[in-house]
Symmetry: C2
Subunit: 336 residues, 2 copies
DNA sequence: TACGCCATCTGTAACGTTACAGATTTACTG
DNA sequence: CAGTAAATCTGTAACGTTACAGATGGCGTA
């Protein structure tokens, strides 16, 4: 015996509510999205019943009919060993999506074909918005997404004369503050271990560093070949050499916790004591550096906020906001 | 002018292929899933055209019709500061899903309501399979998913007399090998800084530790109050105290890189030199410990493999495999 | 009274897919 | 040569939703 017209304990649909209220399916649909042509009284009744039966719109139905996926794609390179950075960003994104109908889908790619995921997303129309994590100064993914009118936001700025939402850590301000911190502790001779020079924020970092060095009238210890993408043992070796040099610095500004750890290892090997003979400042996203060596000075970089911010920007763009208004430069909130 | 029957440059559907081949839509559908009632020649022709026009099945269509979502949900607690662990697992999962139609969706939850995501997934039928990351010995999510016949896999075993796929690091073997490593370096008096005692793998770790201590006839240095969930500064302070104790150990086995770093910080503060006065062994998932202090001994724990493994198990269960065969205990592959 | 207009509601069709129940052709059996 | 089975193909309907083009009724106006 099949009860044809009386819905049982299956997942409720618009039909279920239509049946229970005696209204048409269309009316229920319009009522739930608060359409103007439905009576206020009816709307209320529909909402009541909908809540009662625990109605949740069927994503596949909506997506098939409207093309809206309610998906935000985070594009990740799975080859980089990005440590806590990625999880913090993911957490931030999920926070921003929490009270929305959006789901977060992780879309991986390998360095051999960085365009693959964006192409896939455009071709299969599998997302309403995209977040790009390792943005290049001239990023072909950015042009591609722009060409195909897909809302997105990038972590890090681009340098291609094109407008789009982004979130960037204010590395100029970081470097300035880092130097200032060292100056405040009486340090005179400072080195900078920055990002690889081809990345855009290497320029920002250098600018902040140089400005502060002038402002505080300090000596630059040249350290140019050393960037945070160098192999671990090389960084460590550099640290050792620096520590043994006759004109060694008494302060170093690092652009990543990894390179700071490597340097510290080398410096200690050379017999220096951090905090006494030399001070190291670095960015800190998770809290592990503090766990290990409170002597290392840190300035906060918050990837969770970055994620939240990026997600919000994408949603805003989807909702029609002007992308030019969705660009955020977030500085260090202060030394920790 | 609308060209009604001649599909243009829109995304190709089954209809497009049907039009191009002169076949019926149904036939094309059956042909592409290699159904038995379609001629070999026809199948080949359909496949040709499908590839030519770049056909990709519409997920919403499939999902609406069949209920298959092609989604695997990873359930993550966004409150824990899980460092590299999470990203590595995510990467592993995406590797396993790479050549499948499955997408990875991140579903967050807060400690205030751990059941929320699984309830949501069941109620909205929004995934074909689930991966649970921080498994409790008696995990209500496990029972719930079992009750609702949702395939899943857990990272870490449960202790509730119930069969399901899981992946677990062999902490007993880890602890045994860690002690063995210390014994091989001539260490005599060893302490264990394990996981919080209520977690299941604390028991495994302790078992391996004790067995090895007996086998190699070593002295246990009691360190029981110290577990890896203790606050950072407490761990560090303990390290200092341990270093200053008259009966101090000459070896410590740690269950996490975090606690190892904290301990090392404290021990060095107390004037000890790692690798000379005392040896520390810890698990290592990412490579950052090696970057900082090669003196710390490490045994590998591979979260990427864990993720790959978990995803594969879920897919296998979805495809009808016996969950009892999808349980993997993965040991350390050797000291690094 | 007739007309039109507004407010409110309804049915049909379509998004792309697949299950199902045929339809057609071919080949083989008796 | 009829009859049937096998092989191959097809159309219809449905999944849950929403856009669109009506339908219905009440009410004010001419």
């Amino acid at each position: 015996m099949k009860t044809e017209t009386v819905p049982g304990d299956e997942r409720p649909t618009l039909k279920t509510i239509a049946f229970l209220t005696g209204l048409g399916v269309t009316t229920v649909s319009r009522a739930l999205k608060n359409g103007p042509e439905i009576g206020e009284e009816t709307k209320e009744r529909v909402r009541q019943i909908a809540k009662q039966v625990g109605y949740r719109p069927n994503r596949a139905g909506v997506r098939l009919r409207t093309g809206k996926t309610n998906v935000i794609s985070l594009i990740l390179n799975t080859e980089e060993g990005a440590m806590g950075l990625v999880s913090e960003m993911v957490y931030g994104i999920t926070e921003a999506l929490a009270d929305t109908p959006y789901h977060l889908v992780i879309t991986p790619y390998s360095l051999s074909d960085p365009m693959e995921p964006v192409r896939y997303i455009i071709e299969t129309q599998s997302a309403d918005g995209v977040i790009i994590s390792r943005t290049e100064p001239r990023d072909p993914r950015v042009s591609y997404l722009l060409d195909h009118h897909m809302p997105f936001a990038t972590h890090g700025r681009t340098d291609m004369g094109v407008v789009h939402p982004w979130h960037d850590y204010d590395n100029e301000s970081y470097a300035y503050n880092a130097v200032k911190l060292l100056a405040g502790r009486g340090r005179k001779r400072i080195g900078l271990s920055g990002p690889p020079p081809q990345l855009l924020y290497a320029r920002h970092t250098a600018r902040g560093f140089e400005r502060a060095m002038r402002d505080f009238k300090l000596d630059v210890f040249p350290l140019s070949t050393l960037n945070l993408d160098a192999p671990a043992d090389e960084i460590r070796r550099s640290g050792r050499e620096i520590g043994l040099a006759s004109d060694r610095p008494d302060g170093i500004v690092c652009s990543s916790a990894m390179s700071a750890l490597g340097l510290v290892g080398g410096l200690e090997e050379a017999g220096l004591r951090i905090g006494r003979d030399i001070d190291i400042v670095t960015k800190q996203s998770s809290s592990f550096i503090g766990w290990y060596k409170p002597e290392i000075l840190t300035i906060r970089e918050d990837f969770r906020t970055a994620g939240r911010d990026l997600a919000k920007s994408v949603l805003a763009w989807i909702d029609g906001a002007d992308p030019a208004t969705l660009q955020h430069l977030v500085g260090p909130e202060g030394a920790v």
